[in-house]
Subunit: 187 residues, 2 copies
DNA sequence: CGCCGATACTAAACTTGTTGCATAGGTGCT
DNA sequence: AGCACCTATGCAACAAGTTTAGTATCGGCG
């Protein structure tokens, strides 16, 4: 039932196909929720059945048809309802941190290169979030935007994502420094 | 299979009962993995069957017996093996951020109080992480510890948790400021 | 000309994770 | 005396999420 709310939130500003949502749930939305395309298609069908979404089929040239989903009144009401509930505590799952916790029994070279990959992917994420932030600000300063802008919600969640990825970079560099000091590469 | 690795990592330094692990998976380990007690008991049984853990029953006075689990050689080997694998990307699930993303259709008063709860719980977490950090440092400066200490892994994962909760506090206060500005409380 | 990758979706099997209930004595508060 | 909460585990049912496969068309690359 939680994915459902994330989908409702993702459809506030524009209609989208399952395919588009799947991509989004791997980039921007990934900041606070993730889902595979299979989960999404299944959930979208159920949500349509439950009257939270309406779908329209759009025929395309040289492409399969797509179904664009948008919120119904019931969908918007369900969303408001959800914002009244107590949110569950954040859950984080990070296999890299499990590997680090297990450092005493780890293959250090392998862990080191996993940290490097993490730094790289956080860098890419950070770039894409910052680009999306620039789109939301749309030329205004943060000051101007906060006084008058109308996408405050997405602005705040993006800020959280940006902070998170920046701290991933800082932490990753710290971890590499510590490792190179305590487990020097031979040579 | 992922919970399994988190359990192995949690048992590196000491044996523990299912009950103790369950508590730990709600405090320190919660930093990078979470699990309910039911999940743990089921997984511990399977891991014992698979030879990764050995259990010994300890009779107690005025308490039910408990089973203390510890790593076997096969368990340690499985852990090392896991550190050689590519860690999956971090997944974050945060209902509060979903509610914020939906701000345009939200019950703002309710969301505001959810942010306040989040600030409170992040504060509590931060305190308990900092206490655990002090235990690990055990009187040494970070400099001394990093040069000679032997629980580098837990130190690094704790650092990540501390940073995360600090940023939760910073972000929460930002969010409250923005909300009070754009949705002033009547009166 | 054959292969890869993107678009767009569907289906089914499988693994994980959550919730509710049950057992059973102990401690601590009012 | 009664209630809530802690220790310590287990089972069953259900909800949620993952994996693996498949359909079909197009554009670009070498």
């Amino acid at each position: 039932m939680s994915l459902r709310n994330a989908v409702l939130a993702a459809l506030i500003n524009r209609e989208a196909s399952g395919y588009e949502l799947a991509k989004q749930f791997h980039v921007s939305v990934a900041n606070f929720w993730t889902a595979t395309s299979q989960q999404l298609y299944r959930e979208l069908d159920k949500m349509e059945t439950d009257g939270l979404l309406s779908a329209r089929v759009v025929a395309q040239e040289r492409r399969p048809d797509k179904r664009l989903f948008s919120l119904t009144e019931a969908g918007r009401a369900a969303l408001t309802d959800f914002t009244r509930q107590d949110p569950r505590p954040t859950t984080v799952r990070d296999e890299l941190l499990v590997q680090i916790e297990a450092l005493a029994h780890a293959d250090v070279a392998s862990v080191r290169s996993s940290i490097e990959s993490r730094i790289a992917s956080s860098g890419r994420r950070l770039e894409s979030y910052e680009q999306r932030l620039a789109e939301i600000l749309n030329g205004r300063t943060e000051e101007e935007f906060l006084a008058t802008g109308n996408r405050i919600g997405p602005y705040l969640t993006l800020q959280r994502g940006i902070i998170f990825e920046r701290e991933n970079l800082t932490w990753g560099r710290l971890a590499l420094t510590v490792l190179s000091r305590r487990f020097p590469t031979s040579g």
